[in-house]
C-alpha cells in the first residue's frame, strides 16, 4: 500500500456529473476512511450508482476529482481501477450469465493471471499450474460465501439472491482494497439479508476491504456501516456515523419531506 495509508482510502472532491443537461451529481465531496464500511443512502435517482460508476471509471466526472489511495484522477479506465484494487458489484445483475458460478468467479481473477494465450491454447505447464492456483482461490471464496452447492451451475438459472452472492464472490476473489457494492441486498428476504450482511462484515473485517455500499434498508445500514453518506438529487445532505445521520434534521427534511 502506498505512503498515504494513513489518510482516507477514497476521497471525492467536488465531483459533478450530468446526463444530457440533467445534473446527476452536484459538487459532491466526502471521504471514506481506510477499513470502514461506508453506506450511501438516498432516494432512487439520487445519483448513488452514478457515483460508484465514477469511482471505478465507468463514467467520467464532468468536474472534480477522485483520490484513491493517494492518487488523484478525474477519469480512470475501469480496467485500471480494477488493477489498482477497486472491486465492484452491480445493482442490476451483471453476471456473465452463460457461465457457471465457478467460471464467473474465475473471471474475477483474470487480472491475476500471468499466462498467455499460447499457454492456454496448448495447456502448457505454467498454465496448468496457474489454473490450479487460481481455481483454489476461487473455490475458497465459493466455499466461504456458501455457494458450493451451486458451483457448477450456469448463473442465469440461479435464484436472484444467490446471483447477488455470486456477484460478491466475483468481486471479492480479486482481493480488492476497496469494494463498491451497489444494492447487494436488493430483492432479498430477511434471512438472505442477514447472511449477506455477515459476508460483507467478514469481507471488511477478515479480508480487510474497505466497503462502500448502496443500500435502502435502513435497518441493515445502521447495523452494518460505520459511516453513512446521504445523497439527495445529486447533493450530499448528510455525512456521519449512523447515529449522527439518523438525527440530522437536514436528512430528516430531505427524506421525510412533508410526508410525515
Amino acid at each position: 500500500m502506498s505512503a498515504s495509508s494513513a489518510g482516507p482510502i477514497l476521497e471525492l472532491r467536488d465531483v459533478s456529473l450530468s446526463f444530457k443537461g440533467v445534473k446527476a451529481l452536484n459538487a459532491l465531496s466526502f471521504a471514506v476512511a481506510r477499513g470502514e464500511i461506508c453506506a450511501l443512502i438516498g432516494p432512487n435517482g439520487a445519483g448513488k450508482s452514478s457515483l460508484l460508476n465514477i469511482i471505478n471509471g465507468v463514467y467520467r466526472a464532468d468536474e472534480g476529482e477522485v483520490v484513491f489511495d493517494g492518487a488523484p484522477f478525474r477519469r480512470i479506465r475501469p480496467l485500471e481501477a480494477a488493477r489498482r484494487g477497486i472491486g465492484r458489484t452491480f445493482q442490476h445483475n451483471a453476471l456473465f450469465k452463460r457461465l457457471s458460478v465457478i467460471d464467473n468467479v474465475l473471471a474475477g481473477l483474470t487480472r491475476h493471471s500471468r499466462t498467455t494465450l499460447v499457454e492456454h491454447a496448448f495447456g502448457l505447464p505454467r498454465d496448468l499450474a496457474e489454473s490450479r492456483a487460481l481455481r483454489a482461490r476461487a473455490e475458497d471464496i465459493i466455499e466461504h460465501l456458501e455457494l458450493t452447492p451451486h458451483r457448477g451451475t450456469v448463473v442465469s438459472t440461479l435464484p436472484y439472491g444467490v446471483q447477488k452472492r455470486v456477484d460478491l464472490a466475483r468481486a471479492l476473489v480479486g482481493r480488492p482494497s476497496l469494494l463498491l457494492l451497489d444494492e447487494p441486498m436488493a430483492g432479498m428476504n430477511q434471512d438472505e439479508k442477514r447472511q449477506m450482511s455477515r459476508f460483507v462484515t467478514e469481507a471488511n473485517a477478515v479480508l480487510g476491504a474497505t466497503v462502500v455500499l448502496i443500500e435502502h434498508d435502513i435497518g441493515v445500514v445502521m447495523d452494518l456501516s460505520h459511516h453513512v453518506v446521504v445523497l439527495d438529487y445529486g447533493r450530499k445532505v448528510g455525512d456521519g456515523t449512523p447515529r449522527q445521520v439518523r438525527n440530522d434534521p437536514d436528512v430528516i427534511a430531505a427524506y421525510l419531506g412533508t410526508v410525515h
Partner: protein, 293 residues
C-alpha cells in the same frame, strides 16, 4: 470542374436511389428491432410481381395496386409465421431468420413468376439534359423526385397519422406502447406492409434502371453503408447517408480508383462508413444509449 460537379450530381442522384432501399430497412428496424435482410428479396418480389402483371396486360395503376396487396399479404404472413414465434429472441437470431426468409421469398417469386429478365418501362424518358456544361440524367431526376416524395409522404405519415405516431412510440419503447393499448403485432404488420410499399417503389425504379431480375436483391449491399452512416433508426439519416454514399462512391471511383488501379466502389463506401462509425458509433442520426450498470 464541370466534370467534378457532374460526377457529384450523378453520385448524389444515385445516392437517393440507395436511400430508397435503406428506408425500407429503417422502417422495419425502428418498429420491430429486426434488421431485415429480406428487404432485397422484397424489392425483387415487388418488381417481379409488378412486371408479370404488366406482361399480363394489366394497367399500370391496377398492377401497382395488386402488387401492393400482395406485399401486404406477405407482410401479414411474415408477422404471423416468422416474427411472432421469434418474439423476444436476440436480434441476431431475427436477422438470420430474415436471411432464411429471403431464400423463401426469392424462391417463391421465381417459382411463380420465373427467372427470366424483364424489361420494366415506366415511360420515363432517359435522354440526358444539359445544364450548361453539365449533363444530368432525366431518369435520375425523376427517380430522385419520386424518392423525395416518398420520404415526404413517410414523414407526414409518421408525424401526423395515428398509425405513424404509434409506430414512433413503439420504436421508442415497445412495452410502454403495449401498456397503453397499442397493438404491437398489428402495427408490425402495417410497418412491414409499408416496407413492402417502399420495396415496390424501389423495385420499380431500380427495375427500370437495370431490368427486373434476380440481381435486384443486390441493391441491399449498397444500402448497408447508407444505414451505417445514417443510423439504423432515422429516415432523415437514410437520406443524408444515401447522399453521402452516392457522392463518395462516384467521386472515389473517378479520383481514387485510378490511383489504386481498379474499381473501388465495392469497398470504398464501407471503409468510409467505418470511419464514420469510429467518430459517431451510432451513425449520424442514431441515438446512442447510455449504458446503465
Amino acid at each position: 470542374m464541370a466534370f467534378l460537379i457532374e460526377t457529384l450530381i450523378g453520385g448524389l442522384l444515385s445516392g437517393v436511389m440507395y436511400a430508397l432501399v435503406a428506408i425500407g430497412f429503417v422502417l422495419i428496424y425502428k418498429a420491430s428491432g429486426v434488421f431485415n435482410f429480406a428487404q432485397g428479396a422484397m424489392v425483387l418480389c415487388a418488381a417481379l410481381t409488378f412486371v408479370t402483371l404488366r406482361d399480363q396486360g394489366l394497367a399500370f395503376w391496377f398492377a401497382a395496386l395488386v402488387t401492393l396487396a400482395i406485399m401486404v399479404v406477405l407482410a401479414i404472413a411474415v408477422e404471423r409465421v416468422v416474427l411472432r414465434p421469434l418474439m423476444n429472441q436476440s436480434q441476431i437470431t431475427l436477422f438470420m431468420a430474415t436471411l432464411g426468409l429471403s431464400f423463401v421469398i426469392e424462391g417463391m417469386s421465381q417459382l411463380v413468376m420465373g427467372a427470366s429478365v424483364h424489361e420494366l418501362d415506366l415511360g420515363i424518358v432517359d435522354t440526358p439534359v444539359e445544364v450548361g456544361p453539365i449533363l444530368v440524367s432525366q431518369f435520375d431526376l425523376v427517380a430522385a423526385a419520386a424518392a423525395g416524395i416518398l420520404v415526404l409522404a413517410l414523414s407526414v405519415f409518421f408525424n401526423v397519422t395515428r398509425i405513424g405516431i404509434s409506430l414512433r412510440a413503439i420504436a421508442d419503447d415497445p412495452q410502454a406502447a403495449l401498456s397503453i393499448g397499442i397493438r404491437l403485432q398489428r402495427l408490425w404488420r402495417i410497418v412491414w406492409g409499408v416496407a413492402g410499399f417502399v420495396a415496390l417503389v424501389a423495385g420499380l425504379l431500380w427495375g427500370s434502371r437495370q431490368g427486373v431480375q434476380f440481381s435486384l436483391t443486390f441493391v441491399v449491399l449498397k444500402a448497408l453503408p447508407v444505414l451505417i452512416i445514417g443510423g439504423f433508426t432515422s429516415i432523415a439519416g437514410a437520406i443524408v447517408g444515401g447522399l453521402i454514399v452516392g457522392a463518395a462512391d462516384a467521386l472515389a471511383e473517378i479520383y481514387v480508383g485510378p490511383l489504386l488501379g481498379g474499381s473501388v466502389s465495392t469497398w470504398f463506401v464501407y471503409v468510409l462508413a467505418v470511419a464514420f462509425l469510429l467518430i459517431r458509433p451510432a451513425g449520424l442520426f442514431g441515438e446512442r444509449a447510455i449504458e446503465r450498470v
